[in-house]
């Protein structure tokens, strides 16, 4: 027995030693090359993780090579599948063994403040593009710097990103069939859905018309209130403009106000409950995911009257031609607004960081700075020169034609890092972009809705220190999940005074006061 133990222990020890040696070996041998490899001996060698939609297809991208050449570096890329990264990053970051640069991989403040990455502020003087980006965009600076002013990771602000995430559209064919005008108020909207339901506008003799559909299913974290809101478009009509913020707050007279306990919010929920009870809202709403929902919009004959989403095309595919984008609805108190955010779609936090194990930080900074060159940035976000973007006769950046068989978005995603890329572009540069592309169309829709943005109500992006973050993470998860869970119950079962009071009481008991204290302090530190 003892012998076996010793033998096992010895074997285990020797095996684990080799394992450690192997792990420790690669980076150190790599960094030895780094330190010796000065610019005179050719390009500096760096290692990096990069996030990409697929593992190896269409990789490396020509633009990455071009940028590396401009910066005089050579990078050994390890491709992280965009979907896998989300689930693996905790483990990868916790392992403490990182390449020189983590590039374009989605991280959070908590991830980057763990001490695995260096503070970039001392290097900014040698990075003119990054410096210009941060100086011209207070939001970006605010997002980049932590509570002590250190910058552990750079945000990205790719070209052609909107302020608002959704468009609202109705079935024009059905409106024409029934001889109706586009609804402008919530009550007209309600009446329209009733007629859609009862008068068989698709003419197949079956009552299969769905008023509006959406999806709250597909994973537990999608927030139907705040992000690409499947119900987000209804709330502003009742004066609840949460602007895609996961704080569920809107700023009123310079003070953040938690919306889900207000009377306005209750009025909105009661309205949605009416839609539910009258069977005007898809009863599969809670279990559908995006694909299930999109299938309904793409059906033949048409079965859905109203929808909301990133663009009509993304939801409806070939049926897009039958739908028309409409203005926000006006609520009972004359409220007519649209959710918008300075950062939610435009800025991505923590998109590029240099790890503490990097031995040639200057070279890594040089590379990152080249990524924040505007034309390079456009290519990183949408596709390399000659593949997706190019220059027109006047020398302006332009989108090339997308090959048959792909949508613009698919083609871009395949050939670029997508909009999560660490890049930046100015408004002037953005205005000079020509060509035809869905991203340019999205900006037009954004422009259309901009009339109803309520800018002063936007919660700004707030950076918290570590202790607050860990407190916030529990409070916010508890309260937000409870809000969404109750929203679902209210919509399907209705709101009574008792259930509403119990709900408000419960949220207070869960620590709403403390949560609002954190939000208000954070707001004051930024505003």
């Amino acid at each position: 027995m003892k012998k076996a133990k010793i033998l096992a222990a010895a074997l285990a020890l020797s095996m684990s030693c080799t394992a450690f040696a192997a792990c420790g070996g690669t980076p150190s041998s790599g960094s030895a090359q780094n330190s010796s490899g000065s610019d005179a001996d050719g390009p500096v060698k760096l290692t990096a993780y990069i996030s990409h939609i697929s593992d190896t297809d269409n990789f490396p991208m020509p633009v990455l090579d071009a940028i590396a050449e401009q910066a005089g570096v050579e990078i050994e890329w390890t491709v992280m599948n965009m979907g896998d990264w989300r689930t693996q990053k905790s483990v990868i970051l916790a392992s403490g063994e990182l390449p020189d640069i983590v590039f374009g991989c989605a991280m959070t403040d908590a991830d980057v403040s763990g001490g695995s990455f260096i503070d970039l502020t001392p290097y900014l003087d040698d990075a003119p593009n990054i410096q210009r980006f941060l100086e011209e965009n207070p939001d970006a600076m605010n997002m980049a710097a932590d509570s002590e002013g250190a910058i552990y990771a750079l945000p990205g602000q790719p070209a052609l990103r909107p302020y608002s995430g959704d468009v609202l559209y109705v079935n024009q064919v059905w409106l024409d069939e029934l001889g109706m005008d586009v609804p402008t108020t919530t009550e007209e909207f309600f009446d329209m859905l009733i007629r859609f339901r009862d008068e068989d506008p698709n003419g197949n003799g079956i009552q299969d018309e769905i008023g509006f559909s959406g999806y709250a299913g597909g994973g537990g974290t999608a927030s139907i209130l705040s992000t690409a809101g499947e119900l987000g478009w209804i709330f502003p009509a009742f004066g609840v403009v949460m602007n895609h913020s996961d704080t569920y707050c809107m700023v009123k007279d310079g003070v953040p106000e938690f919306q889900p306990v207000t009377d306005n919010y209750r009025a909105a929920v009661e309205y949605i409950n009416r839609l539910w009870d009258e069977n005007l809202m898809d009863h599969e709403f809670w279990t559908l995911d995006f694909n299930g929902c999109a299938a309904k919009y793409r059906s033949d004959p048409l079965t859905v009257g109203v929808g909301s989403g990133w663009s009509i095309g993304t939801n409806c595919g070939d049926n897009a031609q039958y739908y028309t984008m409409i203005e926000p609805l006006e609520g009972p108190n004359g409220d007519k607004y649209w959710n918008s955010s300075d950062y939610f779609y435009k800025l991505n936090d923590d998109r590029a960081a240099i790890s503490t194990s990097c031995e040639n930080v200057e070279a890594a900074v040089r590379f990152l700075d080249a990524c924040y060159d505007e034309y390079n940035g456009l290519q990183l976000a949408y596709g390399s020169e000659g593949v997706v973007v190019g220059k027109d006769d006047d020398g302006n950046p332009t989108f090339l034609e997308t090959p048959d068989g792909y949508t613009d978005d698919e083609w871009s995603m395949m050939n670029s890092m997508g909009v999560g890329a660490p890049t930046w572009c100015s408004e002037e540069f953005e205005a000079s972009i020509t060509g035809e592309n869905t991203n340019l169309e999205k900006l037009q829709a954004d422009e259309f809705y901009s009339e109803w943005f309520l800018e002063e109500s936007r919660m700004p992006y707030i950076t918290y220190d570590n202790d607050t973050l860990s407190e916030l993470s529990i409070l916010q998860t508890d309260i937000n999940e409870y809000v969404l869970q109750s929203l679902a119950t209210f919509i399907t079962e209705g709101v009574t005074d008792e259930s509403w009071d119990a709900y408000v009481k419960q949220i207070n008991a869960m620590g709403l006061d403390r949560l609002m204290e954190i939000y208000t302090e954070g707001y004051n530190s930024v505003a």
Partner: protein, 310 residues
């Protein structure tokens, strides 16, 4: 049983010599388990510190029981623990006996090809991934489409039961689909044990006029008893572990008050928000419960049937 120390030592040595080859057989397993299960166990200390990856296990700040206190003070702790235990105990009550009954029934079939066919058909679903399984369940049980939807529209039910969103049905759906998926696979081990029954016993019982039922009760079941005990003890040892993927995938806003279990809560609070220490603390808590359950059940079963794991 009492021996002097020297005696027992030399006896052990003698026995070791005799069973040298057997020890060699065990060696790879011992090495594997110690490398992958024991050595990484030092990581649990992160539940007691404010873990920062860059500072490592030995450099991070020691905070003692802070994360545990935070968890038990948080609003969701009691409901998630309750949901976890209810789901798990209810699962055990259903998914544990059914494979045994199934194995006993299957064992009665004398037509060999039919028996094999049934076995294959029933254990097939085990190899479907959870994600696909949940998609199947979603399609199957939607009142608007699929199998259940067809019944609903055929009978023209008003206000049909919605198993996917009604909190009252979450556990039913969860457990029902588990039974469908795992019964065949779980029964393999019992079938193997049953194949060890001496046919002479059955012959003798038949001659004595025992009915089929009596033979199952007095021959097959007693043969299975040790296997059942061990399987039961092991199942009790993972009472706090609910299949994360399945609970998470079957979750929606309407059934959240019963479907939020420890594992999904840890994922939302801990891993998404990078609260590693907090997640480790919750997991350590459920592991401790598991160990306690394992030991208690082991003791109970030992008392009752004289078989035990330890």
């Amino acid at each position: 049983m009492k021996r002097t120390n020297t005696h027992s030592l030399s006896a052990t040595r003698r026995q070791l010599k005799r069973t040298k080859q057997l020890w060699l057989f065990v060696l790879p397993a011992v090495v594997m388990v110690s490398i992958f299960n024991y050595i990484p166990m030092y990581g649990v200390i992160m539940a007691f510190e404010d873990f920062k990856p860059s500072l490592g296990f030995f450099g991070s700040k020691w905070v003692g029981l802070e994360h545990f206190v935070r968890f038990f003070n948080s609003y969701s702790s009691s409901s998630t623990i309750r949901n976890t235990i209810l789901l798990s105990v209810e699962s055990l009550l259903w998914t544990f006996p059914i494979p045994i009954i199934f194995a006993l029934l299957l064992n009665q079939i004398s037509h060999a090809r039919f028996k094999r066919a049934v076995q294959t058909v029933t254990y097939m679903p085990y190899f479907i991934s959870i994600v696909v399984l949940v998609s199947i369940v979603n399609l199957f049980l939607s009142p608007y489409r699929g199998f259940y939807g067809a019944i609903v529209s055929l009978l023209e039910l008003q206000d049909p039961i919605e198993p996917l969103t009604d909190p009252a049905f979450f556990r039913t759906v969860y457990i029902g689909s588990t039974i469908w998926q795992t019964t065949g696979y779980q029964s393999i081990i019992y079938l193997a044990a049953l194949s060890g029954v001496d046919p002479a016993l059955h012959e003798a019982a038949k001659i004595d006029g025992a009915s089929r039922w009596q033979r199952v009760l007095h021959i097959d079941l007693p043969t299975l008893m040790p296997t059942i005990s061990i399987m039961f003890i092991m199942a009790c040892g993972s009472i706090m572990n609910v299949g994360f993927e399945k609970a998470y995938l079957l979750q929606n806003k309407l059934n959240l008050n019963v479907s939020e279990v420890l594992q999904t809560y840890v994922y939302k609070v801990g891993l998404i928000n990078a609260q590693y220490s907090f997640s480790a603390a919750i997991n350590l808590f459920s592991t401790v419960i598991n160990i306690i359950m394992l030991l208690v059940m082991n003791r109970v079963v030992k008392k009752l049937s004289d078989t035990s794991l330890l």
